[in-house]
């Protein structure tokens, strides 16, 4: 399941919802991304996430489908927030459930790596010196490229 929302989420509730009534799940991996208080040397007062409504949902759904195709997963949850967030606020949650720990952890890593460069979000950091768009990082493309299969397409 994917959700694109302005509101915060409760990890405990989401995970409990996933495992209640499914006693076949043996392993649950999750990842939470949070707004950090500093960008380099400068304090961040807030971060605004812009996104592309419609396309965001399509991309996240495609991402979930790809993870389910590659790993033996019983459930997948991706929640991505947009709007104005403060330092310490949660931005994104990825949870994967599998009979096996390897599949859950690896697919969780895959999903967050791909979200970085394939989910249509753009981050604007507000600082005392003004607002600045977060630049994409070369290492994020490298991380995402690890998952591109030669057999793709």
């Amino acid at each position: 399941m994917i959700r694109v929302q302005g509101e915060d989420f409760d990890i405990g509730v989401e995970i409990a919802r996933m495992t209640e009534g499914n006693t076949e799940i043996g392993a649950l991996a999750s990842f939470v991304g949070l707004v950090r208080d500093y960008a380099g040397d400068e304090a961040i007062t807030s971060m605004t996430l812009e996104h592309y409504p419609g396309m965001t949902e399509k991309q996240l759904e495609r991402l979930e489908a790809e993870a389910r195709k590659r790993w033996d997963l019983q459930d997948v949850l991706i929640i991505h927030r947009y709007g104005k967030l403060m330092p310490g606020d949660r931005i994104v949650l990825v949870v994967t459930a599998s009979p096996h720990r390897g599949a859950s952890l690896e697919s969780c890593q895959f999903l967050i790596d791909w979200l970085k460069t394939n989910a249509p979000f753009w981050k604007l950091e507000d600082m005392d010196s003004g607002a600045k768009w977060v630049e994409s990082r070369q290492e994020d493309f490298v991380a995402a490229d690890r998952w591109v299969r030669v057999t793709d397409g």
Binding site: Y52, M55, K58, I112, L115, K116, N118, P120, W122
Partner: protein, 83 residues
């Protein structure tokens, strides 16, 4: 044709959405970007380095040589920074 801008492409241009009539002879994403450049300083600034601009046609990631036509929804934006 509906054109959407995001991230610093949007903030440089000054708005995030516009309805445009595709001029004759413009039939790819690359052609559209080239034409938009001439529409004012904000556009020129947004597309000064067109190689880094990413595009989506009808909400699908599309390389710059992708064909476009009236009725398409085209989005132009910097590399995504999700997650």
């Amino acid at each position: 044709m509906q054109i959407l801008y995001f991230g610093w492409v949007r903030s440089r241009i000054g708005h995030g959405k516009e309805e445009l009539k595709l001029p004759a002879g413009i039939d790819t994403v690359a052609g559209l970007i080239h034409w938009l450049k001439s529409r004012g300083d904000g556009y020129a600034h947004a597309f000064v380095d067109s190689d880094v601009i990413r595009a989506a046609v009808n909400q699908e990631i599309a390389p710059h040589n992708t064909a476009i036509a009236e009725g398409d929804e085209v989005a132009l934006f910097p590399p995504m920074t999700g997650g």
